[in-house]
Amino acid sequence: MNPSQAHIQIEHVSKSFGSFAAIRNVSLDIPAGSFTTLLGPSGCGKTTLMRLIAGFNEPDSGIIRIDGRPVNGLPAFKRQTPLVFQDYALFPHMTVEENIAYGLKLQKASRNESRRKVDDMLGMFGLDGLGSRLPKELSGGQRQRVAFARALVTGQKILMMDEPLSNLDAKMRVEVRQELRELQRRTGITAVFVTHDQDEALSMSDRIAVFEQGSIRQAGTPWEIYFKPNDAFVASFVGTANFIRGQIAEIKGGDLIVRCEPSVIRIPSHGRHYVVGEEIAMVLRPECISIGADGEGGIEAVPCWSGEIQSSSFLGRMIRYEVRCGSATFLVDDADPSARGFLQGSVTLRLDPERIHVLPGSGRKE
């Protein structure tokens, strides 16, 4: 298969449950061999979309294609879209081996072949010696690995995962992230991953689709999602964002002169078209603002705002300050707390104009 070709295509799919519209006219291409994450708050429709792909529910309208073929109406048990369930859904009356072999049995694999593949999986997931245990005799992490083994054993080219890491403790979650990404790269399967955890999404994905209220607000690489969010929802859901509202006072060369609180700033237009007088919303990540004690020398042409520290929280690798500048409040991260220690009182904020991102279409909304 051509790797750039979409493996799973969602075209204008909608799904309602009663009067609740779970999915509204969603379109998404999931490239073959990619790790694609459906990210969003609970109730945003991400799990519903996954269930539609797996065939547990049928869309009210729209088409879902796998390998270019429409699968609408195809029952779940013929779709070959293995899914790792959030609660793992291991069959409690079957041993680990029987759970893993269940899919093979349904494919009428020979006993030897089944035996070999199950053993491969047990080895691959470090479950050797646990084959004859029942799920209730396993730890959470072991259960999760059985769930993965069961989904992968039949060798399908798709693996779907519904928040599979949410039942693990924090440290293990980070370890499994890497293992999972490694596994996906090695096998070349197309992974669809559902999560509400932005860290998971950013660290593992080739592509992220951010959902809200049944619609995709933005689909793109983690980099795009984080630094070039399409709208305020994406900006604030993925990472922490400072929003600055302003009005374009002047357009000078390729730069915009924006009047905003507390002072005028000059930012590049990146070749986009703006008109004078337009209202715009800008996003600036906390780590893109540098903070210093009041009066510390700065470089010319970098806007300096002075403000007052309202509160601070020490997070180990950094300190997050809440700084009040006039009527606006900014969240600012000091990434190297050991150098300066806690700052107090009046401070100066320096904004890097290159890193200020103007939300597209923000002016039209207001």
């Binding site: 547990f56 048990f77 070959q80 369930f85 609660d87 859904a89 269940y102 029942l134 069961r150």
Partner: protein, 547 residues
């Protein structure tokens, strides 16, 4: 709104059309349950002339029976619920010894014939009673409402206990800690937090008790004396005067409040107690009660438990005593009554076995359709499956007698009518057990099976049925015991050839052969438990663990 409902209905029709087997099973299930549940009910209600119903208010004897039923239901429900709460609280919340005994005592009346307590009561307090005659030397007429009240309280409090205990067990202990933390004393936390949270459970227990007390036939038959209730009066109309019309009027008068209690239980308690049960389970230990309270409650439970043990003990004693009240020497003669009634014993076991298996299979099929196939007709099917639970046994028996004594299906006097009546009487028990089982199996397990390539049928066989083994078998066990010890349903249905053990026991009691009745009861229960124990030995599926 109605347009969307229509389109939903249309979608369901299409969905069913795609699965012809499901459609066939669905149609069959509807037909069978409708035929054996709805039709008999309709038959009884429509049997009397409408004018006959007016007699309910003019015939003073009947009016009295109705009032007596009402009084006993209120009294016994109240006492049952109080004792059940006492036991449930003690077992669930207090750190006291002998909890095993308390649990045993709350199980005993459920698994024994409903009239066994009445029989023991006569042995203890009757004219020849162990307590009244031998110890206290006085002669008192114990037949009537006092005795019935005591007997029904002991017989039916375990039903309330089961419900209330379940709720107390899962009630949120951490909320009480929160109350203590805010300064509430033990009593305040109990009154303001614990009790309100348990209220749906207590109400549910009370309703279940009320339904049982209202429908009770065996106890009032044996010790009611002249104090007649609706079920016993209906039976007398039928057995004494062959007045089917009057029996139908009285049974219908019984059905209405029973249905009312049933609906209240389903619609109100069913919903609110559900929320309590699904609450997060807590491993917190309850805050210890004050020692005075604790030991007072313990003493109450202990004395009630001892009394119940005495009730059962005296029955065994009576079974091996020559002439109760006069000659206390040991004898095996009473067993002669049993050997003379071998056919009845055999019938009891056979009917109970066949009807409970039938009920369990039908219950499983109905539960599967209702819970796993989202079809609009579900609500009707669900209602039909649990409806027999609302119908007093006497009413159901009368319904079968009236319905199947003429073409198209003529079953009068056959074993089939006995088995079918017991089967549908037990259907709600089995159906509820399987329904609860289905609810416990997470939906994702089925999704996982489909996801791995199994169709509906494979999933049912490979995943659902193995997981439902427990509820299925427990449904059979409970139904079996209920059937062996049932008197109300079959009292209108048995013939000379199809008589069962409980009928023989009633006959012995009515003729004053206490020893024979006791012996018969002991043997019947022993056989029932032996059959149950044997069935446990049969390996239904091999234990799959190889470790």
């Amino acid at each position: 709104m109605s347009a969307s409902a229509l389109s939903d209905a249309w979608k369901q029709v299409k969905k069913v059309k795609q699965e012809p087997i499901l459609a066939a099973v669905l149609a069959a299930a509807l037909l069978i349950t409708g035929f054996f549940v709805l039709w008999p009910i309709a038959k009884v209600v429509s049997y009397p002339h409408p004018a006959d119903y007016a007699q309910l208010f003019t015939n003073s004897r009947w009016l009295q029976a109705a009032l007596n039923s009402l009084m006993m239901t209120v009294l016994s429900t109240f006492s049952c619920t109080a004792i059940a709460f006492l036991f449930a609280f003690t077992v669930a919340r207090l750190d006291v010894p002998l909890k095993g005994l308390f649990r045993f005592v709350t199980l005993l009346p459920i698994v024994s014939p409903p009239f066994i307590v009445a029989l023991s009561y006569i042995l203890l307090f009757g004219r020849q009673g162990l307590v009244t005659k031998q110890l206290l030397h006085f002669n008192v007429d114990i037949y009537g409402w006092h005795g019935l009240w005591l007997v029904q309280t002991i017989t039916f409090f375990p039903y309330a206990y089961a419900v209330i205990y379940g709720v107390l067990q899962s009630s949120a202990v951490h909320l009480e800690y929160a109350a203590h933390n805010l300064g509430a004393t033990r009593w305040q936390a109990f009154r303001h937090v614990f009790l309100p949270l348990c209220r749906p459970g207590i109400a549910g227990g009370a309703l279940i008790t009320a339904m049982n007390v209202l429908a009770d036939f065996g106890n009032p038959m044996i010790i009611g004396g002249n104090f007649t209730l609706l079920p016993t009066e209906a039976y007398m109309q039928m057995s004494g005067w062959f007045d089917l019309s009057s029996a139908a009027v009285l049974s219908t008068a019984l059905l209405l409040p029973a249905l009312g209690l049933f609906l209240v239980n389903r619609l109100w308690v069913g919903r609110s107690s559900y929320i309590t049960v699904t609450g997060r389970e807590s491993s917190l230990q309850a805050y210890p009660a004050a020692p005075g309270v604790k030991w007072t409650l313990f003493a109450c439970c202990l004395s009630i438990s001892l009394f119940i043990l005495a009730v059962y003990g005296v029955l065994v004693y009576g079974a091996f005593t020559k002439t109760w009240g006069y000659d206390w020497s040991f004898t095996l003669d009473n067993l002669n009554y049993v050997t003379a009634k071998q056919q009845e014993l055999y019938n009891s076991i056979r009917y109970a076995l066949l009807s409970s298996i039938g009920a369990a299979v039908l219950g499983l099929i109905l539960a599967y359709i209702v819970h796993r196939k989202r079809i609009g007709i579900n609500r009707l099917l669900d209602f039909l499956a649990i409806l027999p639970g609302a119908v007093p046994g006497v009413f159901l028996g009368l319904g079968f007698a009236l319905t199947f004594n003429q073409p198209p299906i003529q079953l009068s006097g056959t074993s089939a009518i006995m088995i079918l009546a017991l089967m549908f009487w037990n259907l709600p028990t089995c159906y509820s057990a399987c329904s609860a089982g289905f609810q416990q199996i997470g939906r994702s397990l089925e999704d996982a099976s489909h996801n791995l390539g199994a169709g509906s049928f494979r999933t049912l066989l490979g995943i659902l049925l193995p997981l439902l083994k427990g509820p299925f078998l427990s449904g059979i066990s409970v139904s079996f015991l209920r059937s062996v010890t049932c008197l109300s349903v079959i009292i209108f249905l048995y013939s000379a050839h199809t008589s069962v053990g409980t009928v023989s026991i009633l006959g012995l009691v009515q003729s004053g052969a206490w020893g024979g009745a006791s012996a018969f009861t002991v043997v019947l229960i022993s056989i029932a438990f032996a059959v149950l124990a044997l069935s446990r030995l049969i390996p239904f599926t091999q234990d799959r663990r190889k470790r």
